[in-house]
C-alpha cells in the first residue's frame, strides 16, 4: 500500500513537470515515421482510383491551391489569378474573377481558403493587402478587410484564420514569438495573435517560396529547419508528425553549413534527406515527398498499421497490374480530401503513355474500362489536367 501511494505521489509530481506534459501530448497525437534507405517499390498499395476529367469549358493555366468543399472542387488558377469551381464530377460551374484595384476587387490573388462556417471563399490579395470574401451562396463578393502585414498564404479552420508571414522584414523586434504565423478570428475582428517561441515547437517557419499550409484531416504547417509537421488547432500548435530518416545524422550540421554559405546547393546538404513537400493526411494514411541525392522520393504511410506501404524515387507509374484494376497511370498525390488522395495528371504525363505504342497496347489488353481508356486517348496539350482520387490499402499483402 505504501509502495502504491508513493508511486501515485511520484506520478502526480511528475506530471506537473512541463516535460511530462509534452511527452504525454506527443504520445497521444504524434506520428513518428521512420524512413529507411531502402525503397519499397510496389504498386499494389493502391486500392482504387477515380479519374475525373475536368470540363474543357474552362481552360486552366496552372493549378495552384486546390480545396474541396460541399462536393465542389475549388482550384486556384495561378496563371490567370482566378478561382475556378468544378463539381466533383468535373463539370465547370463558375469562376471567381474580379481583377482590379477597386473595392471588392483583387489584383494579385496570392492564396485562398474557405470558411466552412458560412461557405465564404476568402481571397488574399497581396497587392492591396486585403482579404476579400466571396459568398458561394450568393455568388458575389460580399466584404473585404484591409490587413497591415504582408503574408504569403492564408488558411481557415472552423474558428480561426491563420496567416503565414514568412517575410522577416515584417517582423517586430521581439524574439519571443513566431512572427511567421499569425492568427485572428475568421471575421478579422479581434487582435492578431502570435505563437510563443519554445522548445516544444521549435522553429516552425516554412519556406517563403512555398504555400505554407497543408490541408487534410486538419490544418498543418511544415517546419522549415527540420522534418516535423505541425498541426494547428485554435490558438495552439503541436507536432503532428515526426519524420525520421535513416542515416540522416548529418542533417542539422549540413543545414547550418548551407545557411552559412547561403545556399542549399551543397554536396553535404544534398546527401541528406530534407525538403519535405506535398504533405497530405487522411484518416488512415499520410503521404509526402522529400529530396535526397537530387532525387525526389515519395512516401505513403499507413497510420493504422504503422508501416510504410510505398517509398520510391519514381513517383509516376504504370504497370499491367494497375491497368488490370483500371488504373492506367499513377502519379504521386499533391492534394487530399477527407478520405482520398488527389493528384493532378497533366498532359505531359499522359503524353508519355498515349504516344507509347507498347504501353497503349498493354492498356488495350488489360483495361476493362474501355470508356476511361477512350477518354484518356482524347487528351491533348489543350486539355485540362485530370484529377485522380486515390484510395490506398491500409496494409500490404
Amino acid at each position: 500500500m505504501r509502495l502504491l501511494s508513493s508511486v501515485f505521489i511520484l506520478f502526480l509530481f511528475g506530471c506537473n513537470n512541463n516535460k511530462c506534459t509534452q511527452i504525454a501530448k506527443t504520445n497521444s497525437s504524434t506520428y513518428t515515421i521512420r524512413i529507411p534507405l531502402t525503397e519499397i517499390a510496389n504498386n499494389d498499395f493502391i486500392e482504387s482510383a477515380e479519374y475525373i476529367f475536368l470540363d474543357q469549358e474552362y481552360l486552366i493555366g496552372k493549378i495552384g491551391r486546390m480545396l474541396f468543399y460541399n462536393n465542389d472542387v475549388y482550384i486556384h488558377d495561378e496563371m490567370t489569378g482566378r478561382i475556378v469551381v468544378f463539381s466533383n464530377k468535373g463539370k465547370y460551374l463558375y469562376s471567381i474573377d474580379n481583377k482590379g484595384k477597386g473595392p471588392l476587387e483583387y489584383y494579385k490573388l496570392t492564396d485562398f481558403t474557405i470558411d466552412k462556417s458560412n461557405g465564404n471563399v476568402l481571397i488574399y490579395d497581396q497587392y492591396s493587402h486585403k482579404v476579400i470574401s466571396f459568398s458561394t451562396i450568393k455568388r458575389e463578393f460580399v466584404k473585404e478587410h484591409k490587413i497591415e502585414f504582408y503574408p504569403s498564404a492564408l488558411a481557415c479552420t472552423s474558428d480561426r484564420l491563420y496567416f503565414y508571414n514568412p517575410f522577416t522584414s515584417n517582423y517586430p523586434r521581439e524574439e519571443k514569438y513566431h512572427y511567421s504565423l499569425i492568427t485572428t478570428s475568421p471575421q478579422l475582428k479581434d487582435e492578431k495573435r502570435y505563437f510563443k517561441v519554445g522548445e516544444k515547437i521549435g522553429n516552425f517557419m516554412s519556406d517563403p517560396n512555398r504555400k505554407g499550409f497543408f490541408y487534410g484531416n486538419g490544418l498543418y504547417l511544415l517546419n522549415r529547419f527540420g522534418n516535423d509537421i505541425y498541426s494547428l488547432n485554435g490558438d495552439s500548435i503541436s507536432v503532428n508528425c515526426k519524420i525520421l530518416f535513416e542515416n540522416n545524422e548529418d542533417y542539422l550540421s549540413a543545414l547550418n553549413d548551407a545557411i552559412e554559405k547561403g545556399t542549399r546547393n551543397t554536396l553535404r546538404y544534398k546527401k541528406c534527406a530534407a525538403d519535405i513537400r506535398d504533405f497530405c493526411e487522411t484518416t488512415n494514411h499520410i503521404s509526402f515527398r522529400y529530396m535526397r541525392n537530387n532525387k525526389q522520393y515519395s512516401v505513403v504511410y499507413s497510420k493504422k498499421e504503422n508501416e510504410i506501404i510505398a517509398h520510391e524515387a519514381n513517383y509516376i507509374a504504370t504497370s499491367p497490374l494497375l491497368m488490370k484494376r483500371n488504373i492506367p497511370i499513377y502519379l504521386f498525390p499533391s492534394n487530399v480530401t477527407n478520405d482520398s488522395f488527389v493528384s493532378t495528371l497533366p498532359f505531359y504525363c499522359i503524353d508519355q503513355i498515349i504516344h507509347n505504342e507498347k504501353v497503349l497496347n498493354e492498356m488495350d489488353t488489360h483495361m476493362t474500362d474501355k470508356h476511361l481508356l477512350k477518354k484518356l486517348k482524347t487528351v491533348d496539350e489543350n486539355s485540362n489536367p485530370i484529377l485522380v482520387f486515390y484510395k490506398f490499402k491500409t496494409k500490404l499483402k
Binding site: Y58, L59, I60, G61, K62, D77, M79, T80, N382
Partner: protein, 191 residues
C-alpha cells in the same frame, strides 16, 4: 546643270507617283475600309489619320508577301489569321485578342487561326487568360517572316497563292473599325 537637277527631280516624282499609285489601287479595299472612320466625329480625325498612315504603310509592306505558313490539317482556301508574338507589347496582344473575341461571330471558328510566336508556357497562359477555344499554332522557333513585326496583325492567308491579303494592324480604341474590318473579311471571303 539646273535643268538636269529639275529633270531628275521630276522623274523621281513621277516614278514615285506611279509606284505609290499602283500600290494604292492594289489596296483600295483597305482604304475604303479606313474611310469609314473618317465619316465619324471631326475631332478624332487628326489622330485617326496619323495612325492610319502608319497602318496603311504597314499593310502595303506585308500584303501579298509569301509566308512560310505552318502545315494545317484540312486547310480551307482562305484562313483568317491573327499573328501575335512574344516581341509585341502585351497590351497590344491582349487588345488584338479581345478584338477577335468580340467580333468572332462574324468569322466561322473553323476558318480562324492564331499564329503565336510564343513558348509553351506563355501560350498556355494566353489560352487560359482569354479562354481561347479556337485553333492556335505555335510558330516558336520557326522562321515565319512576320515575326519581327512589333504589332499584332490580322490577315487572310490564301492557300492557292500562298500569300497574305488584307493585312490589318489594329489600332487601339478603334473597335468600330475592327468591327467593319471583320465584316468586310466575312463578306469577301466567307459568304
Amino acid at each position: 546643270m539646273i535643268k538636269y537637277i529639275i529633270r531628275t527631280f521630276v522623274l523621281i516624282l513621277l516614278g514615285s507617283t506611279v509606284l505609290f499609285g499602283f500600290l494604292y489601287f492594289k489596296e483600295r479595299n483597305i482604304f475604303d475600309l479606313y474611310r469609314i472612320k473618317h465619316t465619324q466625329e471631326s475631332n478624332q480625325l487628326k489622330a485617326v489619320g496619323e495612325g492610319l498612315r502608319g497602318l496603311v504603310l504597314n499593310s502595303l509592306v506585308y500584303n501579298n508577301t509569301e509566308i512560310s505558313f505552318p502545315k494545317v490539317k484540312k486547310q480551307a482556301d482562305y484562313t483568317f489569321c491573327l499573328f501575335i508574338s512574344e516581341n509585341q507589347c502585351s497590351t497590344c496582344v491582349n487588345a488584338a485578342v479581345k478584338y477577335y473575341l468580340s467580333n468572332r461571330k462574324a468569322i466561322p471558328d473553323s476558318n480562324f487561326l492564331i499564329l503565336a510566336n510564343y513558348n509553351t508556357n506563355a501560350l498556355r497562359y494566353l489560352k487560359a487568360e482569354h479562354q481561347l477555344k479556337c485553333k492556335i499554332i505555335s510558330t516558336y522557333g520557326t522562321n515565319i517572316n512576320i515575326a519581327e513585326n512589333k504589332s499584332p496583325c490580322f490577315f487572310i492567308y490564301n492557300k492557292e497563292t500562298a500569300k497574305t491579303e488584307m493585312f490589318l494592324f489594329p489600332l487601339k480604341k478603334e473597335s468600330e473599325m475592327i468591327k467593319a474590318y471583320f465584316e468586310k473579311i466575312r463578306d469577301k471571303y466567307f459568304i
